[in-house]
C-alpha cells in the first residue's frame, strides 16, 4: 500500500487538516508530552480526602449500598473463618477457586480443613472464587483487581460468588491515589492486561429499570477487610 492509501495516514491527515496544524509543531508536542509525564489530577471530591478511619467507613458504606456483603476481620484466622461461614450461608459447597496470590496462600487454611482450594483460572463449574485486591478507593467503594497468575481475571466474573480480600492499609480515598499505587507496582505508563474496578455484584436494570442482581457476573460479592 502506498502512503497515500494507508488508512492511518488518511485519518491523521484529516485530523491535522481540520485542526489546521502541522505534524511537527514543537509546542503542541511539548504540551502533550508534559501532560502524559505529569498526569495532573483534577478536583478530587472532598469525601475522598478524609482520614483513614473515615475512608474505611465510607468504603464499607458505599459497597453495602451497592449490594456487597461486608465483613471486617482483624486476623487472618478470622478471615478464613469468614470465608468458610460465607460459603455455608450462601448454601455453596466448601470449595473455592483462587490464584497463586502470596497473601491468600499465607492465610491459615489448615483452620478450615474442610474447604477445598482449587488453584488456577476459573472453570465453568466453579461456584465460588477468592481474589486479593491490590488497592481500593473509598469514594465509591471500588476494588481494584489486576490480572496475572496471582489473581486470574476469570475469578472475578465466572463463579456465582466472589470473595475479595482487601487489607485495610490498602484502602485509599480516591481513584487517583489508587492509580499511584498501581504505578508504583507496575511502572509508570504500564498496566497489566486487565485492571478490573469492581464496586458491587453484577446487576442489570435493562428490563423496565428493575434492578436484578447476578446478570452475567457474580450474584454475590463478599468483601473481607483485613486488619
Amino acid at each position: 500500500m502506498s502512503a497515500a492509501e494507508d488508512p492511518r495516514s488518511i485519518v491523521m491527515g484529516r485530523i491535522r487538516a481540520s485542526l489546521g496544524v502541522a505534524s511537527l509543531d514543537r509546542a503542541r508536542k511539548a504540551s502533550v508530552e508534559r501532560r502524559l509525564e505529569r498526569h495532573p489530577h483534577g478536583t478530587i471530591p472532598a469525601r475522598a480526602r478524609r482520614g483513614r478511619a473515615e475512608c474505611l467507613a465510607l468504603f464499607t458504606e458505599m459497597l453495602t449500598a451497592q449490594g456487597a456483603d461486608m465483613r471486617h476481620v482483624l486476623t487472618r484466622k478470622e478471615a478464613v473463618a469468614a470465608i468458610a461461614s460465607y460459603l455455608g450461608t450462601c448454601n455453596l459447597p466448601p470449595r473455592i477457586r483462587m490464584g497463586r496470590d502470596a497473601t491468600l496462600a499465607a492465610l491459615p487454611w489448615r483452620d478450615a480443613w474442610d474447604i477445598e482450594r482449587a488453584i488456577g483460572p476459573a472453570q465453568p463449574g466453579d461456584r465460588a472464587a477468592l481474589s486479593h485486591a491490590v488497592v481500593a478507593a473509598a469514594e465509591t467503594g471500588t476494588l481494584f483487581l489486576v490480572s496475572g497468575p496471582a489473581n486470574p481475571t476469570t475469578l472475578n466474573f465466572l463463579p456465582e460468588a466472589h470473595t475479595v480480600l482487601i487489607e485495610a492499609a490498602d484502602i485509599v480515598g480516591s481513584y487517583e491515589e489508587a492509580w499511584d499505587r498501581l504505578r508504583a507496582i507496575h511502572g509508570k505508563g504500564t498496566l497489566p492486561r486487565a485492571v478490573n474496578l469492581i464496586s458491587g455484584p453484577s446487576r442489570t436494570a435493562d428490563i423496565e429499570q428493575t434492578i436484578v442482581r447476578g446478570a452475567h457476573g457474580p450474584r454475590r460479592l463478599l468483601v473481607l477487610i483485613l486488619g
Partner: protein, 475 residues
C-alpha cells in the same frame, strides 16, 4: 446507519399513538431523571468536574493526532495492534478479516454504539459467523431483529410482557410451563443461555467508553459483567472505538468516570469499570492471546474543524435523551437513527447527511434541558440551530416554511413594524378567544392546535410591558 429515507413525522405520530410504548417511556422519567438528580446532589463537586471534563476533552481534541500516536505506541508496546478505519465500510472489513484470521465461528459482543453505527453484525453474519450480543438489552433487541431505542438502555421501549413473549418464541428448547413473569426469571434465563456462548466464543468484540493514551488502555464500563466475559474468555479481543474516545491520562479518565455513571443511570459508579491493555502476558493463566483496537473516524475528523466540534466531547451517557421532552414523547426508534434524542439530532446529520436527517434537528423545542444536564457541557440546542441553518441554506425546508421564515425575518429586522404587528396580533387573538382565555383553533397553525390550546394574550405585548416597567424604574 439511518434508513435511506426515514419518515420521521409519521414514525413520531405512530409512536405517540402506541400505548405500550407510551407506558414503557414512563420508566425513563421515573428512573433515570430522579436517580441522576439524587446522585448529583450527593457530589457537591459535580459542576466543577463538568468544567474540568470539558477542558480535558477540548485539550485532547485539539491535540488528537498526537494523543492517538501516543496511545498507539502504548498499545503496540503492550503487545496489541491498532487499525484505522476512515469510514464504516473500512471498519467492517477490518473486523471481518480479524475474525477470519482467528478462524472465528462464534463472536460474542459487549454493548457498542460504534458497532451499531457501522452495521457490524449483519456484515459478520453474511460471512457465516454467529454473532451474539451479550448485554441483556442488546440481546433482546437482537432476538427481536430491532435496533436499540436508547444508547444506554436498549429496550427501554419494551415492557416485561413483550420480553417474556419474545423469550418464549425464541427459546424453544426450554420447558413451556416455566415462569417468566418477573424480571429475575428473564435475567436468569438469559444468563444461562449466554453463559454457553461466552464459553464457546472464538472472538470477543467490545466497544470502549474511553481510551487512555498514557497506558494504551481501553476502558469498558458495564453493570452486568458481560463486557468482561466477552473480552476475557475468547482467544481474540477486538475493541472498536471512535477516535474521539481518547483521554490523556488515568487522572483524566477518573474525572470523566465520576460524571459518566452519575449522569447516565444515577449510580455513583457502574459495577464494573475495566481497563484492558494488550493481550494476556506470558505468565497469565487467562485472557485473550490477541488484542486489536479498531479506531473509527467516520466523519469525526471533519467535525473537528466545523461548528459541530463540541459534539466530539460526548461520552454517550444518555442524559440528554432522558431529559428531552421530545424523546420522552416518542422514544428512540422514531428518530430512525441509532443515535436518538438531542445528541442524535446533532450527530446523525453529520453521519448520514442533513438532507436525509433534516427532521431531527428540527424536532426540538429548544427547551435547553439537554444542555443543562450534559456532563460535558455540549451546547446541543446551538448545534441543532446550526443544522437548521445549513438545512435552510440547502433549500431543504418546504416552500411554505421558507416563505414564513422569510416573512418573519423581514418583520424581525424592522422593530417598529414588528412591534406594531405583535400588538395587532395580540389584540386579534384576545378578541378571537373571547372570554375563554384560550384558542383551540388558529389559522395557518391547525397542526399545532390539533393537540393543544394556545393561551390567549392577556392585553399588552412583552415589549409594551417591558417599556412600562423601565419607565416605572426610572421614576
Amino acid at each position: 446507519m439511518a434508513n435511506a429515507k426515514h419518515d420521521f413525522r409519521s414514525a413520531a405520530s405512530q409512536a405517540l399513538a402506541d400505548r405500550s410504548l407510551q407506558k414503557a417511556l414512563l420508566n425513563v422519567k421515573r428512573g433515570f431523571v430522579s436517580k441522576r438528580a439524587a446522585a448529583k446532589a450527593k457530589l457537591p463537586e459535580f459542576d466543577s468536574l463538568r468544567e474540568e471534563a470539558r477542558a480535558i476533552k477540548d485539550h485532547t481534541l485539539s491535540h488528537l493526532d498526537l494523543y492517538l500516536e501516543a496511545y498507539e505506541r502504548k498499545v503496540i508496546e503492550s503487545g496489541g495492534e491498532v487499525h484505522y478505519a476512515p469510514a464504516a465500510a473500512d471498519a467492517r472489513a477490518i473486523v471481518l478479516t480479524l475474525c477470519e484470521q482467528a478462524g472465528a465461528k462464534l463472536v460474542t459482543k459487549g454493548k457498542s454504539m460504534v458497532s451499531e453505527e457501522i452495521g457490524l453484525n449483519a456484515h459478520l453474519q453474511a460471512a457465516k459467523i454467529e454473532v451474539v450480543e451479550t448485554d441483556l438489552g442488546e440481546y433482546i433487541v437482537q432476538l427481536r431483529g430491532e435496533r436499540p431505542s436508547h444508547i444506554i438502555a436498549p429496550v427501554i421501549h419494551l415492557n416485561k410482557e413483550t420480553i417474556e413473549q419474545e423469550f418464549r418464541r425464541k427459546h424453544q428448547r426450554l420447558p413451556r410451563e416455566r415462569r417468566l413473569d418477573r424480571a429475575e426469571y428473564l435475567v436468569a434465563e438469559a444468563r444461562a443461555l449466554l453463559r454457553e456462548k461466552f464459553l464457546a466464543a472464538d472472538v470477543g468484540i467490545t466497544g470502549a467508553n474511553l481510551l487512555i493514551a498514557e497506558t494504551g488502555s481501553s476502558v469498558v464500563v458495564t453493570n452486568e459483567g458481560n463486557g468482561d466475559l466477552t473480552s476475557t474468555l475468547p482467544r481474540m479481543h477486538i475493541v472498536i472505538a471512535s477516535i474521539e474516545k481518547l483521554v490523556p491520562t488515568l487522572e483524566d479518565a477518573s474525572t470523566i468516570l465520576r460524571l459518566l455513571a452519575r449522569s447516565a443511570t444515577g449510580q455513583e459508579i457502574t459495577t464494573y469499570t475495566s481497563l484492558f491493555t494488550g493481550p494476556r502476558r506470558e505468565a497469565d493463566p487467562d485472557g485473550p492471546t490477541a488484542y486489536h483496537v479498531l479506531l473509527l473516524d467516520n466523519g469525526r475528523s471533519e467535525m473537528l474543524g466545523n461548528e459541530f466540534a463540541d459534539m466530539l466531547r460526548c461520552i454517550r451517557c444518555g442524559a440528554c435523551l432522558n431529559h428531552c421532552p421530545v424523546y420522552g414523547a416518542i422514544g428512540g426508534h422514531a428518530y430512525g437513527s441509532i443515535y436518538p434524542g438531542p445528541m442524535g439530532a446533532v450527530l446523525t446529520p453529520q453521519l448520514s447527511g442533513i438532507d436525509q436527517a433534516r427532521d431531527l434537528p428540527n424536532a426540538s423545542s429548544f427547551c435547553g434541558r439537554c444542555e443543562a444536564v450534559c456532563p460535558m457541557e455540549i451546547p446541543l440546542p446551538d448545534m441543532m440551530r446550526a443544522w437548521r441553518e445549513r438545512d435552510f441554506a440547502r433549500g431543504n425546508p418546504p416552500r411554505f416554511e421558507r416563505l414564513m421564515l422569510k416573512l418573519w425575518a423581514f418583520a424581525a429586522k424592522r422593530p417598529r413594524l414588528y412591534h406594531a404587528l405583535a400588538e395587532a396580533m395580540a389584540r386579534y387573538l384576545a378578541r378571537r378567544a373571547g372570554g375563554r382565555g384560550r384558542l383551540s383553533r388558529l389559522p395557518l397553525m391547525q397542526a399545532w392546535t390539533e393537540a393543544r390550546d394556545l393561551p390567549a394574550p392577556q392585553g399588552n405585548t412583552f415589549h409594551q410591558l417591558y417599556a412600562r416597567s423601565m419607565r416605572k424604574d426610572a421614576r
